[in-house]
């Protein structure tokens, strides 16, 4: 791969592994709806996992329309964000994972968010898996690369 392509991949991986929270966009009857989620990403960056109660609006939205977008970014809410922060917009859909993969990622999720142990143990808790098809990575203010994951 070209340097600039490898750089994009490395940068995306560092961003996804470094952040704990992201913004999830779902939709309800065609209207977009955003929520803050605690997430974890699989090693190959293909799967984003987040926890929710089954009574939430986002869960209801995903149940009726599995298409989603997730924004992961490194902003710190300062001026420096404009040159320093990078952001990735992930596009994909909700999927049901095979049991083994689900178990592994659940362990990873708890490792990443140990303080959510009680939340995860709740009977109404659901770990939702998103299969990502494309990432749009924005860095240096306006530099945008597309990363299409091969299936």
């Amino acid at each position: 791969m070209l340097d600039s392509r490898q750089d994009a991949w490395r940068q995306l991986r560092a961003l996804l592994q470094g952040q704990a929270l992201a913004v999830l966009a779902t939709s309800h009857e065609g209207h977009p709806y955003c929520s803050l989620i605690a997430f974890v990403v699989s090693d190959d960056l293909r799967t984003i996992l987040f926890g929710t109660s089954r009574n939430t609006r986002k869960f209801a939205n995903i149940t009726s329309d599995p298409r989603v977008s997730v924004l992961i970014d490194s902003r710190g809410n300062t001026d420096a964000d404009f040159h320093q922060a990078c952001a990735a917009t992930a596009v994909g859909r909700e999927v049901k994972l095979p049991e083994a993969e689900y178990r592994a990622l659940r362990g990873k999720y708890l490792e990443r968010h140990p303080h959510l142990r009680d939340f995860v143990a709740s009977p109404t808790f659901e770990l939702v898996a998103l299969r990502i098809e494309t990432y749009y990575l924005v860095s240096r203010f306006q530099h945008v690369m597309e990363l299409h994951l091969e299936t």
Binding site: L2, S4, D79, Q84, F141, L147, E150
Partner: protein
Amino acid sequence: MNWLISLEQIADVHLPDVGGKGLALARMAAAGMNVPPALVLRAGAYREYVSVTGLRERILLELNRKSFEDMRWEEMWDAALRIRSMFLSTPIPDGMYEEISRGVAQAFPSVPTAVRSSALAEDAGGTSFAGLHESYVNVRGADSILEHIRLVWASLWSDGALLYRKELGLDVADSAMAVVIQEIVSGRASGVCFSRDPEDAGRAIVEAVHGLNQGLVDGTVEPDRWFLDRASRRVLSHHQPKRESAMRPSERGVELVPLSAGEAASPPVDERELALVLDQALRAEALFGGPQDVEWTVRGNALHLLQSRPITTGESADESKAWHLSLRRSFDNLKVLRQRVEGELIPALIEEGRTLAQIDLTGLDDASLAREIQRRESLARHWTDTYWEHFIPYAHGARLFGQVYNDAVRPEDPFEFIALLQTGDMESVKRNALLEQIADSIRQDPAIAKMIEQGAELPRPVQRMMSELAQLVSPTETHAGADTTRIARLALQASRVQPDRQGPGTPSRETLENRFLGSLPEDQRPWALELLDLARSSYRLRDDDNVYLGRVEAQVAAAIAEGRRRLAGRATRSADALSDADVASALLDPGFVPQAASASAPAPRVAVKPRQLTGQPAGPGVSTGPARVIRAHEDLFTVEAGDVLVCDAIDPNMTFVVPVCCAVVERRGGMLIHGAIIAREYGLPCVTGVPDATELIQTGDILTVDGFLGIVVVRRAD
């Protein structure tokens, strides 16, 4: 807040706030040495200014457009100019302005001053980098001093400083700069003293010129040089130059003035003064605990010390950086260079290309052809060296003008001045005019388009113009027939482009020239016109030198092509597999085995595509069209009307296709490179300095080129 501090108030603990130069002056004054009265504007003032005005983040955005490792020196210069322009258009906040203004007016009520940088890392310990940051001399009055403080601050981000950022410890996020405001001592003679000769520890070196030492520092005035014995203070040897001129204070700072006959005949200082200078330099050495580089001046009978900093050796260990610093030329220095370049080097380069083109390569036997290839390669290397040594430094004329223009006019677009430099008589523009003439014949007579499509014989005048253009575009082609076919195809495409395109709302040259001259006091206008003339010549050369060098390089290529043709005839070898460098060897030695090519890169795990690429805005405007990626010379002839030209670097043999295109994208960066020059000439949006442009973009991708923001949006049909 107390932004100003006097030399008497400065103690060692102030180093991080007053910088190396400020502290050194304070220590010299405290030791009773004769330094001019001075105030230091603390680094805190810089920090406050860039924070309150939002400049800090604007600078960071500018410097983070791409990684430093990917930036060429021209791009660093462009970035430095943009940042300088930000400082020029950002006033100092009111409260701060009043406080500094009051302090400065009190200390220097009517005397001229020097406003000098005092970088926090510079001069501090083992490092010393002269000339990376600006100093201004002969600045009078509080308002003017505050104006120049901003310019000195801006020079924290000068191209030289950006280049030396690692050595300087320049931290892009929180570097700052202090400023020394010093009463100017207008000496009759000035110079520098190295308290210890790096080559011989028993000697010291003194250099001296008549007048101010600005000319000595930038190399415009050649100094007298003495070697002195450190112990006895006695003169060991004296080198006398041809003394011609001196830098004197003038309305625009300093000016090169011829010496009187009396001055020219005598050294700037006598032996008594030399001993005095060395005395003081040795005192400074004892004070600072190491060999010093001391700047001094003599007024009347009094010796004044202007600054002192440690001598560092090996600071030019990096050759490319030393070369870069040599680009900073003064106006007077450029005038001398102009004579050499225009009067001597360019005519010789043109003659070289012409002579080479006259040699009949087909008439040479294999061994002679091999030698001819090697001879031409060596000639091309010689001219490439000349290009770097003389032509590129001369290009600094356009930059110097840009700075003067921006200081005078304060335009919103810091590159507005480029329009003033274009005169339309560049070689490549003449060539493009010929293509336009042919295109116009096609527009006026649709029958010609039909003839071209059918490959029929063309009317004699059109045929003649095409042959002429074919010769200009690829002087190496031996099959002229095939070449005019390609030219005809290209002319057909050119005929589909609207003629006489102009950039959107660009002011005319006359308007800009009046704007420029009108911003200057009347007595400076003759000098300004002289500088403009020099800048135009420098700018024109920036394109033309490439055209002429391209002709010599084309002759190298022609000889190699002839070599390949012959090698292809040998059944045992594939001539295509040989690199250019191996062709001559293969001609001489039938058993020659070229070195194997390196293994290919591993396959990607993910498809990474560009969506929006950031470069530099090098030509204003927005256009959308299919990408035409140029990887080889032949690709040029596939360009169609309305394509976006995407290339690594527009070389002189490529510019003729620019008028057919709707925009230009170039990997190589810079505002004054000829790709950007030609694009501006035709009013085309242009983005330069896009890393990996020809690799990331594919022919057929739909590109939107935003020449205002410097971005390229890529849409690819999946």
